[in-house]
Structures are given as structure tokens and as C-alpha cells.
């Protein structure tokens, strides 16, 4: 029953490590989101008036694009407040 003090201390340091790691990859995560957004935009850009690839290419890849479409959707929602987005990315409180 219950965890020992040493376990708690161990978890504490492990979480500090995890926080540091998350900080280290924050920018890479933003980059990844942007890349996924670009990928979805290139394939499905015809919806917003961009030149489209051959239609069947989009159709072929559509079944695997669930995440990219969600990212595209989210980015479209955030687009109205770019300043907050930039401040958030740079970690300014």
C-alpha cells in the first residue's frame, strides 16, 4: 500500500527530465505541425483555391490523411490570431 518517499523523489526527478525534454523539442513539434499542415495543404489545397495535384493523387492518399487534416483544420482556426501563436511558440508569457 502506498508508495515510498524514494518512489516520489524518483518520479519528481523523472518528471523534471520529461519537462526539459519537452522544452527541447517544442520548436521541433511546431515545425512538424507546420510540415504536416503544408503536406495537407498541397494535397487538399484545391478547397481553398490553390493549384491542385492530379485529383486521383489526393483521393488515393485521403484514407491515410486523418491526422494531417486535423492539423490543417486546427491551423486554419489559429490563423486569425497569429500574434498569440508566435508569442506561444517563443514561450513569452
Amino acid at each position: 500500500m502506498g508508495t515510498s518517499l524514494f518512489d516520489h523523489i524518483g518520479r519528481f526527478f523523472a518528471d523534471i527530465g520529461a519537462v526539459q525534454r519537452e522544452k527541447a523539442i517544442a520548436l521541433t513539434c511546431v515545425e512538424l505541425n507546420e510540415l504536416e499542415n503544408i503536406f495537407a495543404l498541397l494535397l487538399l489545397g484545391s478547397f481553398v483555391g490553390f493549384p491542385a495535384p492530379p485529383t486521383f493523387l489526393s483521393v488515393e492518399l485521403l484514407p491515410f490523411m486523418e491526422r494531417e487534416m486535423a492539423v490543417l483544420h486546427q491551423r486554419a482556426g489559429d490563423a486569425s490570431d497569429m500574434l498569440a501563436e508566435m508569442v506561444g511558440t517563443m514561450g513569452i508569457d
Binding site: 520529461a18 525534454r21 519537452e22 527541447a24 523539442i25 521541433t28 513539434c29 515545425e31 512538424l32 510540415l35 504536416e36 503544408i38 503536406f39 498541397l42 494535397l43 495535384p53 492530379p54 485529383t55 486521383f56 493523387l57 483521393v59 488515393e60 492518399l61 485521403l62 484514407p63 491515410f64 490523411m65 486523418e66 491526422r67
Partner: protein
């Protein structure tokens, strides 16, 4: 196996020339002639009815007409099936109804055409020759260009996708890779190429198109341009030849069709122009068939001119 495409402006006699060539080749070789033109008239030329789009005319000659609408529908049905399998929770919605509108998308028809060509070449290994009678210039150029356009897109998309996978790998590595049986509170993203559905599909498509492009530009494939002795035909053929050159498809023969006593002078002038433009590509003159006006007594496909001896299979003749 040799593959021939008969192209040209609408109404110049592509189908008749393709049928005549198929008939002449079938005296010694096994031939499959496929009509890709939505306005099929292979049956009319050979004076037969095609059942289910196919008919064996002789031991060595098979006629086939491709149903583009059916091909587009089949293709979309396949895609809708993959979509429904992937998004199982959406099955309550009538997905097919929503996707039915896709058949009006630009590009689907060209894709269906290309798929049909690719499948025919892949499956019909038992023939010595496959002859394709193509739709008029515009559509033909578009679908012949499709493999290269698609490959360019696929290359760029694969490049971005690989970058995405690299980033995902970096993120997962810094966060710490999961041990076996360990569960993560976050969604685990695929970073391995072998497990990423998008890149796998892109790779498969690239392979298919590379193979098809290789065949279409290869030494066993050739385009034959049919034209009439008139200025409009000359202008359109000029554009077609330019398009073929850009795409790297080998032009093997020019056919000046429907030449009569009245237009012989014009025919010579147009042929001169063609010789200047096409430099070195053999030219064959074919007289206007009287059978066109005399009813079905005479065979339209059985013309006296030899359409084979001039076919140039090598870019440069060996000395």
C-alpha cells in the same frame, strides 16, 4: 511485345488507320486493338457487334472497346471502399452518396484511361502487338502527360513526407522510445517508413508510374500520327508533335489520310510541311476509301496501302 498509339485530330481517320494496321499485322502476328475513344467505332469499322466491349475477330485479332464511365466508377468504388474501411466509424453515413460527386472531378477520366492502358499492357502478355486507338489530341496529350506530372508531384510529396517522419523520429527519440508493452499517454505517431501508410502508397504509385513511363518511352512503343491534307489538321498535328516531343514519346510514322485527286496538291504541300517539322519520320499516304461512301459492302479496314513497312522502330537506322 510492341505497343502502338494512333493519334490525331478528331475525324481524321485514326480508328480506321488503327483498324487497318491491326488487320495487316494480324496476318502474321497476334494483335489486340483497344479503342480508348469515348466515341467508339471499332465495331462499325469491322462491321461487327462487340459483346461486353470485346470480340475475337480472327484467331489472331481481338477487338476491345474501353468503357471509360465504368472504369471511373470502378476506380472510385475501390477508393470509397478504402475510405470506408479506414473511417469505419463513419459507416453510418452514406459515404458512397457523398463521394459519387467525385466522378465529375477533372482528371478522373484521364486517370481511368491511363489505368486502362497500364492494365492492358500488364495483363495481355499473349499478344505480339497492342494497338491503342486514342481519343482526339487534347485528351490524349493530357493522359500521356499524366505519368510524368504525377511522378513530379509524388517526388515532392515524398520529400516532405520524409521530413515529417524525420521530425517525428527526433521527437520520439528525445521523449524516449517506448519499451515493449509500455503505453504512452500521448498519441504515438508513425516515424518508420515501412509503417507509414502515406509514404507506402506514394512509393507504390511511383513504382507503377515509373514502370509505365519506361514502357511508353521505350523502344517497343510508338506513336503514329494521322492527319488529313488540310491546314487545320496541320496546325493541330504541329501542337501534338510538340507535346509528344516534350513528353519524350517516340513518333514512328506519319499517315496522310483521305487523299483524293482533288486535294493531291494540298496533300503534297502539307506533307512538305510535315517533313520539315518531323525531320526523318517516315510518311505514308493513304487514299480516301471509297467504302466510306459505298456502304458496308467493302471492308473499311482492308486498305491497299501497306501501313507496316514504313514503321520506324529505331530512332537511328543501323548502317
Amino acid at each position: 511485345m510492341k505497343i502502338l498509339f494512333y493519334t490525331g485530330k478528331g475525324g481524321v481517320g485514326k480508328s480506321t488507320m488503327a483498324a487497318a494496321a491491326a488487320w495487316q499485322i494480324s496476318r502474321e502476328n497476334r494483335v489486340l486493338i483497344v479503342s480508348l475513344d469515348p466515341a467508339h467505332n471499332l465495331g462499325d469499322i469491322f462491321c461487327v457487334t462487340l459483346e461486353n466491349g470485346s470480340r475475337q475477330l480472327t484467331d489472331r485479332l481481338i477487338l476491345r472497346e474501353v468503357d471509360l464511365k465504368k472504369l471511373s466508377r470502378d476506380y472510385l468504388e475501390r477508393e470509397v471502399k478504402v475510405l470506408t474501411d479506414t473511417y469505419k466509424y463513419l459507416q453510418v453515413l452514406n459515404l458512397e452518396r457523398y463521394f459519387s460527386v467525385l466522378k465529375y472531378s477533372p482528371g478522373i477520366e484521364e486517370y481511368a484511361l491511363l489505368t486502362s492502358i497500364e492494365e492492358t499492357i500488364r495483363r495481355e502478355k499473349g499478344f505480339d502487338y497492342i494497338i491503342f486507338d486514342t481519343p482526339p489530341t487534347g485528351l490524349t496529350l493530357r493522359f500521356l502527360a499524366l505519368p510524368q506530372v504525377t511522378i513530379t508531384w509524388i517526388d515532392r510529396l515524398m520529400q516532405i513526407r520524409r521530413q515529417i517522419l524525420e521530425k517525428r523520429y527526433t521527437i520520439q527519440k528525445i521523449r524516449g522510445l517506448l519499451k515493449e508493452g509500455q503505453k504512452s499517454p500521448e498519441i504515438r505517431l508513425e516515424f518508420n517508413e515501412d509503417e507509414d501508410g502515406v509514404i507506402q502508397r506514394l512509393k507504390t504509385m511511383k513504382n507503377n508510374y515509373d514502370t509505365l513511363n519506361g514502357i511508353l518511352q521505350g523502344e517497343n512503343c510508338g506513336v503514329i500520327l494521322v492527319f488529313n491534307p488540310d491546314v487545320l489538321s496541320l496546325r493541330e498535328s504541329d501542337r501534338l508533335m510538340e507535346g509528344l516531343k516534350e513528353l519524350g514519346f517516340p513518333l514512328r510514322l506519319l499517315i496522310d489520310n483521305k487523299v483524293t485527286d482533288e486535294n493531291r496538291e494540298m496533300a503534297s504541300r502539307v506533307e512538305e510541311e510535315f517533313k520539315k517539322m518531323a525531320g526523318g519520320i517516315p510518311l505514308q499516304r493513304v487514299a480516301l476509301s471509297e467504302a466510306l461512301y459505298c456502304g458496308a459492302e467493302q471492308k473499311l479496314y482492308d486498305i491497299p496501302e501497306d501501313l507496316l513497312s514504313n514503321l520506324q522502330w529505331k530512332e537511328k537506322k543501323d548502317v
